[in-house]
Amino acid sequence: MAHAAGLVQFSGHQHLRLRLVLSLLSGKAVRIDKIRSEDKNPGLRDFEISLLRLLEKVTNGTIIEISVTGTAILVKPGIISGGPLTHDCPLSKSIGYFLEPVVMLAPFAKKPFQLTLRGITTDEHDLSVDLFRTVTLPHLQLFGISDGLELRIKKRGAAPAGGGEVQFLCPIVKQVKTLNFVEPGKIKRIRGIAHAVRVNPQFSNRMIEASRSILNRYIPDIYLYSDVYKGEESGKSPGYALTLLAESTTSALHCSEAISQPGVAPEDIALQATRALLAEIDKGGCVDRQHQTLVLLMMVLGSEDVGRCRMSEPTPRTIQFLRDVRSFFGTSFKIVAADPVDKECSHLLYSCYGIGYINSNRTLA
């Protein structure tokens, strides 16, 4: 067991972000080796280096040692300091890649976060800033992190050249609330944001039309915005995307997104996003699949009470995350079928006993 030395060891480059987050929160040093050691291009990639830089910036006293070949790193975490910061993200990953770990860390910082990130705002691999603003941040509100929580999209930047800028503001908390979310409820409203930068603004309207053609049959409360950014604020490359989210009566959120691809009509993009949303709704649960890890992490960090959440089946990412949580915090989840009677229901009830994590970085007086 790696607990003995207070050092947790991993191999491989996968799940790097979550492991770093867990290390910073738990205070345990983490050693990750065999980072693409078999690859033609071994070692850390530029975005991973950039991520490490960012984490070093937002913390105080973090020691990051990278081996000569770049295939192994040792991170001795310091304290999360926060405050006003600016970071330029590389163009190989979008802002979402960097924002996700920061969102997990920010409530436990010493000072409220005011992080400005520059780079690509929307791409197909990571959550776009729209999703962060409309879905991720409301998830944090479930845990009592709400006052002053904001993501401002100053500029948009589409894929190859970027040029976007967002500002993330997050308050600090003493302790997150225990979650008890077992009622998925029924979908009561659907919202969406269609944006198009450096292309014909008509594109976003076309996407909205196409999306509505499917969604209109379900509920009347559908509102799809057309978000327009002009000139300097629209970044350096052309692109457009549609972000959809469905909210249930118990304010469970499901989301989907599709972004422009060369040679595909905006209608098709819209249909893709819409179908993805329907698939997500069909999966059900109280928490979106893409936010499982965030919610589970906050549940682990909650007060020393039982937190429960009903979700769909875990994604591979979640499974690995659950294992990592155990090696960092020693907490495991009780995962049982949410509905023992109903055999068709694939929902699971995740319950865990929070570790009573108290933000020790917070300054008194």
Partner: protein, 1145 residues
């Protein structure tokens, strides 16, 4: 005369007194609240009373705190008995134990646990007079019985202890005055009591309970007084303390050394030990994998935690029924350190202490020659071979009878591989043992040492465990859990035929099944006492089986797949069967996780958080039927039929769904009958509950709309209790071991904690009089950093505290020495260092040490030694901030002198030594002593370190120029834990000493630097040259400004120059004139005197006249007043008369 007995008092049988008494009796009987007696007489009074009641209600309210201690089986209440030596602590402890158990203890060591009632157990612990012990006890005690010698008064230790308590959360305190029988005079006794009570109340709170114990009878306090005390204790309620509500801890009531004997022998007792401690978990849930801190020893790792049977269980209906008549009087007592209650249970062994037969270290029992010899043998430090040879030689001489008696005892000891707890010195092995132990040595790496030796003497059952390749002991813990989980699967197997999976389960499990069986068997062998564990276990099994049977067959066991398999996440999801070979592999060793997983290129995308849907997943949504199929998930869709869409949502309208409702739904019994029937009934039930809810709502609104509104406090309380109920319910049906993995060990469970790498001194110098506390650490508290605290020197501590002097902190669980730097906030711009703590004021202190959560209280000491004069608590405070760097500055003044002065420019030297330094300070503000401000401009090349500076005015050559700068300082990274428990003399811990202390003790003189000695300062008087204004300038000046300097007169005046020579007549005339003048003077003086006399006489006369006049005036005034008085009186009477008349009518 004294011998004659006084006449006894005979109460009067009749007459006034007797009647009065009878009346009193009648009054006494009247119970209940007399409304009339307390009814307010006036409206104002009623208002006042109302206000007061409201205020009193408010004071009763506190911030609602969650009480983490379960109500059903709480851990014993820790009652610490604290006081100076000779005050009667042991006597009180014995009296209390006697009160609860009807047993008399001869010698009390360590904690004593007794059952005091249906729902309460008490752990008594006596605190010795060492400050270390007092600090530790103060951190864990729920109730402190603070004993004070009434005939002596309060002692310094009492106040020190109270101050320690104050900074670590104040537990309940009951004061107890003893030795009151030494005060003979009743009046003195009364005064003493009053004085002591007053002092006690100011220290704790007004009205704090203070008990009086009179003299000692039969070595105990009088039974009635103890009974009263015990009644107070039994009804006492405890408010959770914040620190204890966030940390798990236990008070060890037993400690065993598990180190293989051979290892100890080889290292001459110096090797690190493996130690088990036993006790009730308190505070919050104790989790595995966390670190613990034992105050006085240090941070330790828990290798394993095991639940043991409660050695002092609360009585339940069952146990009461089974209690035999003979046992009626023998009540439970658990005090392993005091050798009481002969039987002790361990994880895999039972210890029976047979008093009277041979035990080591028992001086009471007379030892025979042979016993003495065997003990000598055990103490021998000789090698094994020598030992064997010697033992042979010696044994021939002695009688063999003793040896036969010893054999089994000895065997028992070797079997358990533990020391007999009464003899805690090291034991060297006899031949058989060492053979055994060397075996241990071989597979020491596997951490197998602990379970292995036990298996030697056992039946074949044990062998099952040994055939399997065993993993580390920490794994055993995990395996426990697997076993527990398999419970459900064992239940499953009755119905299902999924052989592949079941097989796998068994593969993973057998590691522990036998061992657990073993334990059970042992339990049954030993005594009926532990019997209830078996039924409980079985009950769990049945319940679990039932629950599991309701599970769908296809359903995955996610917990098992995620936590105890080697599958990659993708494989888990795709439902791949586990590779059986992997099963016994380490499941917790993250290092080898990826070893046999082929790496793919597309893995690069794993770290992206967006889940992209596959093409085919989206394709199906082109179908209209598919689109229609999820209509039920929207509010506009059809109401959910009985599981029609497979989602089976509960009523969605019920959005603000009550929590209880939900619970009820969950707790619904698993379906045993046919589906439709069940569905119908459930629908009916749902309808009924809905109606009920509506009715309740209506009633509430109709009857009393205000009643439904609860105040904040009640609301919070309800919320807390609901959450606590959920905590209990959620893991109710999970077996204990699995529950321990998920939620840790609950407070109130009796556990055995195995600690590794414990310093050998802890065992070698173990003394039960010093409490051993195992405090759990939060993840943040394992780290080190700079801790900023708000600190105040204690007002009773006589010296000031100095920056960079070591200070001993008691913070969190820890006691450690560190070097603080004191500082104050300087205009919110900077943290400015203070050389000394201010008087009567808080300041900040920053030191390097283990992190504690902000808002944790602490106290600090300069020395913990008992011989320290005066009050030892030197400061108290609270943690404010944790950081990895500090910004404390102190002022530094660089001085220089001008050596060349132009108009507003001066060349300054002696401030810096090189041009480089000057470059660093270019643009810095400087100032002269006289207040002329300036700026550093540029370095000069010629004298090194000189620079050009400009000023707002011309400076003088004699001016000193200085530059005020701030120099940042770092606290020294010094952390020295107080390892008092590792010393043979536990009160003699010494930390880092001050340089002066070291010099004094070593007899070294302070080195004297000649340059630092004070010399007499010689200040020659400054001479200023006269101001000379050049002639030219003088000429040019206007007249008014012209200096008016006149030359002093050189020539003598006429009068000075002339000489007077008088004629004789002239001389006579002058003399006469002089005489006349003298006469005249005399005459004037006399006249003056006469006049003053006359004046005085006249004044006297006038005064007398004045007096007479005043008297007359006074008399007249009096007359007038009398008249007016009479008049007013008359008027008043007249008024009254009219009033009375009116009343009459």
């Amino acid at each position: 005369m004294d011998d004659r007995p006084h006449k006894a008092h005979r109460p009067s049988q009749s007459g006034g007194k007797a009647e009065k008494k009878d009346k009193g009796k009648g009054k006494e009987k009247q119970h209940g609240f007399n409304e009339k007696a307390f009814a307010p007489k006036s409206g104002r009074r009623a208002d006042k009373q109302g206000r007061r009641n409201v205020e009193r209600d408010q004071t009763r309210l506190h911030v609602p705190l969650v009480n983490r201690t379960p109500d059903s089986e709480p851990p014993p209440v820790i009652i610490a008995i604290v006081g100076p030596p000779g005050v009667g602590k042991t006597t009180l402890l014995k009296s209390l134990v006697r009160r609860y158990t009807k047993q008399t203890l001869n010698e009390v060591k360590g904690p004593v646990t007794v059952v005091s009632g249906k729902k309460r157990r008490l752990t008594f612990i006596e605190c010795n007079n060492d400050l270390n012990s007092m600090i530790d006890i103060g951190k864990i005690a729920d109730l402190v019985l603070l004993m004070v010698d009434g005939s002596f008064g309060f002692e310094m230790e009492t106040f020190e202890f109270l101050n320690v308590l104050q900074s670590h959360g104040f537990p309940k305190v009951i004061g107890i005055l003893t030795h009151l029988d030494l005060i003979k005079k009743a009046a003195t006794l009364k005064d003493t009591k009053k004085a002591l009570k007053k002092r006690f109340w100011t220290e704790i709170y007004q009205g704090a309970k203070l008990f009086y114990l009179s003299g000692v009878l039969n070595g105990r306090y009088p039974d009635t007084e103890i009974l009263n005390l015990s009644r107070f204790v039994s009804v006492m309620k405890f408010r959770p303390l914040v620190f204890r509500n966030a940390h798990p801890y236990l008070l060890a009531d037993r400690i065993e050394d598990l180190t293989p004997r051979e290892e100890v022998r080889l290292s001459k007792g110096k090797c690190d030990r493996t130690v088990t401690v036993y006790g009730y978990v308190r505070g919050t849930n104790l989790r595995q994998g966390t670190k613990v801190h034992i105050p006085g020893v240090g941070d330790l790792d828990m290798k394993s935690v095991t639940i043991l049977g409660d050695p002092c269980p609360l009585p339940d209906a069952d146990s009461e029924k089974r209690r035999k008549l003979s046992e009626k009087k023998k009540l439970l007592i658990h005090a392993p350190m005091s050798d009481i209650g002969g039987v002790m249970y361990d994880k895999d062994a039972v210890w029976i202490n047979v008093p009277g037969s041979f035990t080591r270290g028992n001086a009471d029992v007379p030892q025979g020659e042979g016993e003495q010899m065997v003990m000598d043998l055990q103490d021998a430090g000789a090698t094994l071979e020598d030992g064997v040879a010697q033992s042979h030689i010696r044994l021939f001489g002695s009688s063999s009878k003793h040896l036969t008696v010893e054999a089994p005892v000895d065997d028992e000891e070797s079997d358990g591989d533990e020391e007999d707890e009464s003899g805690d010195e090291e034991e060297d092995e006899s031949g058989i043992e060492s053979g055994d132990a060397s075996e241990d040595d071989d597979d020491d790496d596997d951490d197998e040492a602990a379970p292995n030796p036990h298996s030697t003497g056992r039946s074949s059952r044990r062998d099952v465990t040994r055939t399997l390749p065993t993993a580390s002991t920490s794994k055993i813990q995990r395996a426990d859990i697997e076993y527990a989980e398999s419970d459900s699967d064992l239940g499953d197997e009755d119905e299902e035929e999924d052989m592949g999976r079941r097989f796998r389960m068994e593969d993973g499990d057998p590691l522990d099944i036998p061992s657990d069986d073993d334990m059970m068997d042992e339990d049954e062998d030993e005594d009926g006492e532990e019997d209830e564990t078996a039924p409980r276990w079985k009950a769990n099994l049945a319940a679990k089986a039932q629950a599991a049977s309701s599970n769908s067959r296809r359903r995955k066991d996610w917990m098992k797949l995620i936590y105890s398999t080697e599958l990659t996440p993708e494989e888990v999801l795709s439902g791949k069967e586990e590779n059986p070979i992997n099963v016994d592999g380490d499941d917790d060793d993250e290092l080898f996780r990826f070893k046999n997983v082929p790496r793919k290129e597309e893995d690069d995308e794993v770290d992206s958080s967006k889940d992209t849907w596959k093409e085919e997943d989206l394709k199906k949504w082109e179908d209209d039927d598919m689109l229609d199929s999820i209509r039920g998930l929207f509010i506009t869709g059809p109401a959910a039929e009985d599981g029609g869409e497979g989602e089976g949502y509960e009523d969605a309208e019920d959005a603000g769904g009550d929590f209880e409702d939900l619970e009820a739904g969950d707790d619904a019994p698993p379906p045993t009958t046919s589906e439709p029937l069940k569905a119908e009934s459930s629908r009916a039930a749902a309808l009924a509950s809905k109606k009920e809810e509506l009715k309740r709502k209506f009633d509430e609104q109709y009857d009393d709309p205000e009643a439904s509104k609860v105040d904040f406090y009640t609301e919070k309380k309800d919320e807390i209790s609901r959450q606590l109920q959920l905590n209990i319910d959620e893991f109710k049906d999970v077996p204990a071991e699995a529950r321990a993995l998920v939620e840790g060990f609950r407070p109130g469970t009796y556990v055995r904690i195995e600690l590794v790498d414990v310093p050998c001194e802890m065992i070698e110098h173990f003394d039960p009089a010093y409490p051993i506390i195992v405090g759990g650490l939060l993840p943040a508290e394992e780290r080190f950093g700079y801790v900023q605290v708000r600190i105040k020197r204690h007002r009773w501590y006589v010296k000031t505290l100095k920056t960079n002097d070591p200070l001993i902190f008691s913070l969190g669980w820890r006691r450690f020495q560190s070097v603080p730097i004191y500082s104050l906030d300087d205009h919110s711009i900077r943290m400015r260092m203070l050389k000394y703590t201010p008087e009567h004021m808080h300041c900040y202190a920053t030191f390097y040490g283990p992190v504690s959560l902000p808002n944790t209280g602490f106290c600090a000491f300069n020395s913990l030694a008992a011989d320290t004069p005066g009050f030892r608590v030197s400061a108290t405070g609270v943690v404010l901030d944790i950081d990895r760097s500090v910004k404390i500055v102190k002022k530094i003044k660089l001085t220089g002198v001008p050596y060349k002065i132009f108009k507003n420019t001066a060349f300054v030297r002696d401030m810096f030594s090189t041009a480089l330094e000057v470059a660093k300070f270019e643009g810095a503000n400087i100032r002269t002593v006289s207040g002329i401000r300036g700026q550093v401009k540029k370095g000069l090349s010629k004298p090194d370190g000189a620079f050009r500076a400009t000023f707002e005015d011309k400076v003088l050559k004699s001016d000193i120029i200085f530059l005020r700068a701030w120099y940042s300082i770092q606290p020294r990274k010094f952390y020295n834990p107080v390892t008092s428990l590792l010393l043979s003399d536990k009160s003699q811990w010494t930390g880092m000493r001050l340089t002066g202390q070291v010099r004094r003790e070593e007899g070294i003189k302070t080195p004297l630097n000649v340059n630092s000695t004070y010399k007499r300062i010689e200040r020659p008087e400054r001479r200023f040259n006269p101001l000379i204004i050049p002639k030219k300038l003088q000429a040019a000046l206007p007249y008014a400004s012209k200096p008016r300097v006149m030359k002093p007169q050189r020539q003598q005046t006429y009068l000075q120059k002339r000489a007077v020579v008088m004629e004789p007549e002239e001389r006579k005339a002058v003399a006469l004139l002089q005489q006349i003048r003298a006469l005249r003077k005399d005459q004037v003086a006399r006249r003056k005197e006469k006049k003053s006399e006359k004046n005085a006489e006249h004044r006297k006369k006038v005064e007398k006249a004045e007096e007479r006049k005043n008297e007359k005036v006074k008399e007249r005034k009096k007359e007038v007043m009398r008249a007016t008085g009479r008049k007013s009186k008359r008027e008043a009477e007249a008024e009254e008369g009219r009033g009375s008349k009116r009343r009459k009518t």
